[in-house]
Symmetry: C2
Subunit: 185 residues, 2 copies
Amino acid sequence: MNKFQEKTIDTTKVFNGRIISLQVDDVELSDGNYSKREIVKHPGAVAIIAMTEEGKIVFVEQYRKPLERSLIEIPAGKLEPNEAPEITAVRELEEETGYTTEQMQYVTSFYTSPGFADELMHVYFTDNLIKLDEAVPLDEDEFVEVHYLSLEEAEQYVLEQKIYDAKTAYAILYLRNRLLTHEAK
Amino acid sequence: MNKFQEKTIDTTKVFNGRIISLQVDDVELSDGNYSKREIVKHPGAVAIIAMTEEGKIVFVEQYRKPLERSLIEIPAGKLEPNEAPEITAVRELEEETGYTTEQMQYVTSFYTSPGFADELMHVYFTDNLIKLDEAVPLDEDEFVEVHYLSLEEAEQYVLEQKIYDAKTAYAILYLRNRLLTHEAK
């Protein structure tokens, strides 16, 4: 998959932060002309579709500074260096929801914003939740509130734009699909 | 939706590019402590789920410099200043695929990466495609190849990671869902 490949002529590092970094690449386009590409580097992330025994989906509400509002999302978090995504998925589930699991099933992966960022999101599913006796601490600048919603309630929250992000929109379609496929059998 | 609101103490503008800009906000957290938030600003985007009369889905392949590879995605593009998303959607459909439409149906919107970016993606659907007599020029640094795939072929491409981005993964689930709901009737 290297159709219309763009050759890097020069890279200018603009910013190196705690979570993301930014660079501008001077590129030679596939027609021989030149352009610039603004690129955000991100370590990658996981998201977890988690369902309780009662068939409720586990969500977390948190403040999203880029949007100046809170969103209700499925649990998620970024990869630590050299951490396997399924390990990150269990860790984030424990930290954000107080549950753990021994069955973390891989669903899919996708780039969230391939036009300007390299963030790759790995999505997992579990319906085998075990309540932890003791809470696992969150990052010190992280605050979340857990919500338990039925699929119908979650779909209503999509219409109300309380649920309003790509991974969570995907998760809800995934669960609706699972239900429809199951019902069709 | 302002749970755990974070108050801006100071904003440092780091970069102002052609497509994105970057700032670092010093914030007061909901517990009174302080932290920093790295924030990418983006004008917002549209994506179009387009289906031909023959039931094929219209995709475009393009090189994604942040990933150093090409992806096969649904047609998409960023909003111009003060442009209504449905206008952008028709324009991007025309530029990238050579089709236009008089029926652009709104599906949903979602933030692609709410942890570090404010990019909001608006998704549209059309199965009313009209072939343009003349090609509409792309941006001068933009190169795309059009692909027509059945839903089954597209799902195979997901498994092969040729389709590997959030909006396109969402689109494929959306169409699968539409089909399942229709079949159930």
